[in-house]
């Protein structure tokens, strides 16, 4: 009995010491990944870029502000209910920020963030209305939202012969993510004089799109915009080529223009367009450091040749924003071991301008991201890239969003979202 008692005390002591150790000696950054399941090809690349950046910071700089970062993955398989379980598993563990990597998961956990005081960063995905910082103090979608992106894509089409009198096909994955930009098309169609043909693709039909493309062939849209993910993207490009739809009139969003979407197709995808907010390639000191400190020594799950690809670089940039927010939070609070609430402040005060991007080894990698209390999307610009048969090539300068159109829509959507949620936490920004 005595031995049992001593054992129990020792076990408890060990448990508590490990908890306090994790609180004191590391910065916990959970990452909801999907390395398995139908979207694994995309999720793996994103996860590797994300994790490798923090591993590099640990190796090169000893972490952030002298505290090591624990970038911990929780596998969701891109399933919303599993994502919620992941979220719940981090309650009480001093997670600094959540990265759901799925709009569906984001929508499920959005209401929990104020209660748990852990911010959610949905980098270029999630609920567009979360851009309104006064209504959504705990959610961020830097560097830009789906709605802003859609207006930038429409601006690009406008510059390529105009939109008036045109028919725009909108091919989208029929889930929350794919449906997200529809309000913008509904708003802008009548204003800009174009008609929209909506072509939803159910998740279980994403590799079976012949009838969707026959519909497109029948309706003859002038352009097709795609909001796809996973195997939907290469299948759509193949079907477009099969139905003789001109690929230089087929433009994907930033989740529909990665190497995993086109590399296996090679020259068959030549001419296909996609938007992006991050640059490809390894010609950046930060990425070189990731290769040097993490990938080459074998400390990563990444194969050589993966750094520099679209989704790897984007996963890395997600980590860059978080690392920057943590550093800002440390400076603002004077604490090394910051909390989720501190990191929220950090996110609102990050200043990733050109000088800072250069300092981080990412000069010219992306448009600046300047945080603010009121604007949680940054209204970032995108550029258009084109697949040349073997790689993505940037073909435009930065295309800003139609802020005058998007902002009123975001305000209305944010108000509508919280209208039936009593006790919703808001904030006032000066």
């Amino acid at each position: 009995m005595k031995k049992l008692f001593i054992g129990a005390v020792m076990a408890l002591g060990t448990a508590f010491s490990s908890v306090s150790l994790s609180f004191a000696d590391e910065l916990l950054v959970p990452n909801m990944t999907y390395r398995v399941g139908p979207y694994a090809a995309n999720g793996t690349m994103m996860a590797n870029g994300f994790t490798d950046y923090f591993l590099m910071l640990n190796e090169r700089d000893g972490g952030i502000g002298g505290v090591k970062v624990k970038a911990e993955e929780c596998e969701t398989g891109y399933k919303a209910q599993v994502g919620v379980e992941c979220y719940e598993s981090y309650r009480g563990k001093n997670a600094l920020v959540h990265t759901p990597n799925s709009t569906g998961i984001t929508l499920q956990i959005l209401q929990k963030a104020p209660e748990d005081e852990v911010p959610i960063l949905t980098m270029g995905y999630g609920l567009s209305a979360a851009a309104k910082g006064e209504t959504f103090p705990w959610a961020f979608n830097y560097p830009t939202s789906y709605w802003s992106q859609m207006t930038s894509i429409l601006s690009y089409i406008e510059s390529q012969g105009g939109l008036k009198g045109k028919k725009i096909g909108f091919l989208y994955l029929d889930v929350g993510y794919g449906r997200e930009p529809i309000p913008v098309l509904e708003e802008l169609g009548p204003k800009m004089g174009f008609e929209t043909l909506y072509v939803p693709v159910a998740g279980k039909e994403m590799q079976n799109q012949s009838s969707h493309w026959l519909t497109i062939r029948k309706e003859k849209p002038d352009w097709v915009i795609m909001w796809g993910w996973g195997a939907m993207n290469p299948t759509a490009i193949k079907e477009a080529a099969k139905t003789r739809f001109p690929l230089d009139r087929f433009i994907g969003n930033w989740w529909s223009g990665a190497h995993v979407d086109t590399q296996a197709l090679g020259s068959k995808a030549k001419g296909y367009l996609a938007s992006s907010f991050t640059t490809t390639g390894t010609d950046f000191p930060a990425i070189q450091d990731m290769i040097k400190y993490v990938v080459k020594p074998g400390g990563s799950k990444t194969e050589m040749g993966m750094p520099g690809k679209v989704l790897y670089n984007r996963g890395m940039f997600n980590a860059v924003i978080i690392a920057e927010a943590i550093e800002v939070a440390q400076k603002m609070t004077g604490k090394k071991n910051v909390t989720g609430a501190d990191v929220r402040l950090g996110l609102e005060n990050i200043k990733l301008d050109e000088a800072r991007l250069k300092e981080l080894g990412l000069e010219g990698f992306t448009a600046p991201v300047i945080g603010s209390c009121a604007d949680h999307e940054n209204g970032g610009s995108i550029f258009v890239q084109q697949w040349d048969g073997s790689d993505w090539k940037r073909i435009t300068g930065l295309i800003p969003p139609m802020t005058d159109v998007v902002q009123p829509l975001l305000t209305a959507a944010a108000e509508k979202y919280v209208s039936d949620k009593s006790g919703w936490t808001t904030q006032k920004c000066n």
Binding site: R35, V36, G37, P38, Y39, A40, A41, G43, T44, M45, D174, Y198, V199, P200, V201, A202, G203, K204, E205, M206, Q207, N208, S210, S211, H212, L214, T215, R217, K218, G230, A231, P234, T235, K238, K242, T243, R244, V260, A264, L265, G266, E303, M306
Partner: protein, 318 residues
């Protein structure tokens, strides 16, 4: 009145006005249908042999496609890679029989079904560990399948026949005919039916249950490989191929779980039906009807002919 016109008249007017599009839809539906039939065939074979719905059939398709491409990437010639995949599937069939089925003889069907779910997760984990998540292109050209497409101009438009689709349809039909003959005219085929009816009765008349199971799982593996090659060619080779595998469910309900002919007829009904319905009636319902059309047809069959078109009617005496 307008709605009646849109439902009953307008689609047929469109078919007549653009016959090239209609013929294209029929062709695409036929190709999709034969491929659905092929997927369903993998389920039918194992169901006939053991009365079990093999939940792992879709992941076998993924495993076959990933293995083939990976062997080829190692520098092994394409057709040697095919042979290696077949050897791998024979070993897998033997392992399944030894480690799972043999232990569960005469157990309830639900237990066997659960074991195939377990097998699915084992294969997912192992395949993820071995192959990683990066998608690849299917090596159809390296296997000697023709590339490019044929164009048949008509009425100011044209019908396009992708050569890989032609190959897929031809091979699927040949395979189904061979399997139908093999399982209905040979001793093994008759043995298989006996095993499906009653494990113990089959054993008592000298049929080797273990041998039959190995053969059937191996043949299901061959079907998975052919399915993986042609579906992989339509999209890419990745874990997402698993999703298309479950398209076989409504096909099986329509054709019957025990009929090889039923698999192909059910596949064609779904393939042709969903394409035509999506293109001509889909816009009336907001498009995207292909996702549920097959299940509605299956539901109708469940209500009025639950054993499917060619399935065995279950009669239980109490």
């Amino acid at each position: 009145m307008e709605i009646l016109y849109a439902i009953l008249i307008a689609p047929f007017v469109e078919m007549g006005a653009y016959p090239d599009l209609f013929i294209q839809a029929l062709w695409d539906g036929f190709v999709a249908g034969t491929l659905y039939g092929l997927i369903a065939l993998g389920f039918v074979l194992i169901f006939k042999a053991s009365g079990v719905f093999n939940f792992s059939q879709p992941i076998l398709v993924v495993l076959a496609a990933l293995s083939l491409v990976s062997f080829y990437k190692l520098g092994i010639p394409a057709w040697i890679s095919v042979i290696l995949v077949l050897i791998m599937f024979y070993i897998l069939a033997w392992l399944v029989e030894r480690l799972i089925l043999r232990q569960l003889v005469n157990q309830d069907g639900n237990i066997l079904f659960m074991s195939t779910i377990g097998l699915t997760f084992i294969i997912i984990g192992a395949a993820q560990w071995i192959f990683g998540g990066v998608p690849s292109a299917m090596i159809v050209n390296e296997l000697g399948f023709p590339n490019g497409s044929l164009e048949w101009p008509m009425f100011g438009g044209g019908v396009y026949f992708e050569m890989i689709d032609v190959s897929a349809a031809v091979i699927a039909v040949i395979m189904i005919v061979i399997l139908a003959v093999f399982f209905s005219k040979t001793k093994i085929g008759r043995g298989l039916r006996a095993v499906a009816d009653d494990h113990q009765a089959a054993l008592s008349v000298g049929i080797s249950l273990n041998q039959i199971w190995v053969i059937v799982w191996f043949v299901a593996g061959i079907v998975a490989l052919v399915t993986g090659i042609f579906w992989g060619a339509r999209s890419d080779v990745s874990f997402a191929l698993q999703i298309i595998g479950f398209k076989a469910l409504p096909v099986l309900i329509i054709g019957g779980f025990t009929s090889i002919q039923g698999a192909i007829i059910g596949g064609l009904i779904i393939g042709l039906g969903e394409k035509i319905f999506e293109i001509y009636w889909g816009p009336l319902l907001g498009s995207g009807v292909e996702g549920w059309f097959a299940y509605v047809i299956a539901l109708v069959f469940l209500l009025y002919r639950p054993q499917g078109l060619f399935g065995d009617k279950l009669i239980e005496r109490v």
